[in-house]
């Protein structure tokens, strides 16, 4: 367990040394989101209708954008070998990497999204719901994206390939994340949606660390 904490702490410290990398991802999220009103038109009811879907899709893209380097940096400077050689389960290391990624991407996105939601004319209660769905849903994105990042480690054209692998697997999270916000706005069952979102996160938690560890071992061969 101490290794897990140490790895999260190391990754957070590395991000702290280069805050620009995270800032770029968040800026992308903001800019991508604001393009939609410009493309679709400023009608308030249309924007409020599409807000949840737009913000969720933009959050998904932003999360994927930052995943490219998740394992690649460790792979290139040799620290991945040290993780592979650490005398504790590699599955925990995989989880720690995804955990650190979530702290610096998922968490800020969940905080930022309601601010952008205001620009789409969402009600305060819906803004809160949006933030809640992102909090519950983005860990799944970090885990699935982490798997895609591990699978494409050392591949040609890894960035685009990563998105191609991760996006179909992220569809359930997208559906229930955006669906939950919409359910709240239209009087549907918000709690059921959140429950499914949490269940998806648990499934990802139970499966992806093993797959990531297997992919990392292959990258080490």
């Amino acid at each position: 367990m101490s290794g897990f904490v140490a790895l999260v702490a190391r990754d957070l410290r590395l991000v702290w040394r280069r805050p620009g990398d995270v800032a770029v991802v968040l800026a992308f999220f903001v800019v991508a989101t604001t393009l939609f009103p410009l493309g679709i038109g400023p009608e308030a009811n249309v924007l409020a209708r599409i807000a949840a879907g737009v913000l969720w899709c933009a959050a998904l893209f932003a999360a994927l954008l930052s995943l490219d380097r998740l394992f690649a940096a460790d792979f290139e400077d040799g620290t991945l070998d040290l993780l592979l050689l650490a005398p504790w389960p590699l599955e925990l290391a995989a989880l720690a990497k995804c955990c650190a990624h979530w702290i610096v991407t998922g968490l800020p996105l969940a905080v930022l999204a309601p601010l952008l939601g205001v620009a789409f004319g969402l009600e305060p209660a819906v803004l809160l719901a949006l933030s809640a769905t992102l909090l519950v849903g983005t860990p799944t994105l970090s885990l699935i994206g982490g798997l895609a990042a591990a699978l494409t480690l050392g591949a040609r054209k890894s960035g685009a390939l990563l998105a191609l692998l991760a996006l179909p697997l992220c569809v359930p999270t997208l559906i229930f994340g955006a669906g939950a916000v919409e359910a709240l706005a239209t009087g549907g069952d918000f709690r059921a949606h959140i429950a499914v979102l949490a269940a998806l996160a648990l499934v990802a938690l139970a499966t992806t660390p093993w797959a990531i560890a297997a992919a990392l071992r292959q990258a080490g061969e």
Binding site: S2, R10, R17, E76, D77, G78, L85, P87, E221
Partner: protein, 213 residues
């Protein structure tokens, strides 16, 4: 010869359908150094990676004190100190931070007190707070060697440890290696140069063999 701690029997590795080496057997006792020699591509790195269980060998076994290391891989990894082609150091962390982080990633207790002696051994004390990014290749290599010393692991696996080192640094490494061996440690090093250890054993890896597809 002392009773062997490490016994490798009939090891064979294949990369991309090509057999790198086969029927490789050796054993190593406390205080012994095995120098791996051979031309580029003869499989020195592959052998080191196979010993560290980073590569699954096709056949063969590795035993430590009579137990198959594949049965308890985490215990085996805990006995290893690794130095690869890549240093395994983060460019954005300082020398000291890198060393401490590497120790913590091994799940070891805080290494603050041991850190100073490792830094002194490789003349890194002045550089301790410098970011890795600002150091030269030789200084980075010295940091990586300090990381190896810091692990206090019984078996060192070293890939070209003398790379990029100047004469004083080479002497420092030889000293560290000698005291590691003197305290009963083992080391396997792929190297072209003499490591200055009396009675070191050598394993020459041959030409890459043709595979029978």
């Amino acid at each position: 010869m002392a009773t062997p701690l490490l016994e490798v029997a009939d090891l064979a590795c294949r990369r991309g359908g090509r057999r790198v080496f086969e029927r490789l057997s050796f054993s190593l006792g406390p205080g012994e150094l095995l120098a791996l020699t051979g031309r580029n591509g003869s499989g020195k790195t592959t052998l080191l990676r196979a010993l560290a269980l980073l590569i699954r060998p096709d056949t063969g076994s590795i035993h430590w004190q009579g137990t198959d290391v594949a049965a308890e891989p985490d215990a085996w990894r805990g006995r290893l100190a690794w130095l690869g082609h890549l240093e395994g150091l983060k460019a954005d962390l300082s020398v000291a931070e890198n060393l401490l982080a590497a120790e913590r990633l091994r799940g070891a207790p805080p290494a603050g007190d041991r850190l100073d002696s490792a830094l002194v051994a490789f003349d890194l004390s002045v550089l301790a707070r410098r970011a890795m990014r600002t150091l030269s290749a030789g200084q980075r290599r010295r940091t990586a060697l300090a990381r190896v010393v810091l692990t206090q692991a019984p078996l060192w696996l070293l890939d070209e440890p003398l790379n990029a080192l100047d004469a004083p640094a080479q002497a420092a490494f030889r000293g560290a290696l000698a005291s590691h061996l003197a305290s009963g440690g083992l080391a396997i090093a792929a190297t072209h140069a003499d490591l200055g250890v009396a009675g070191a054993r050598t394993l020459e890896l041959g030409e890459p063999q043709k595979a029978s597809a």
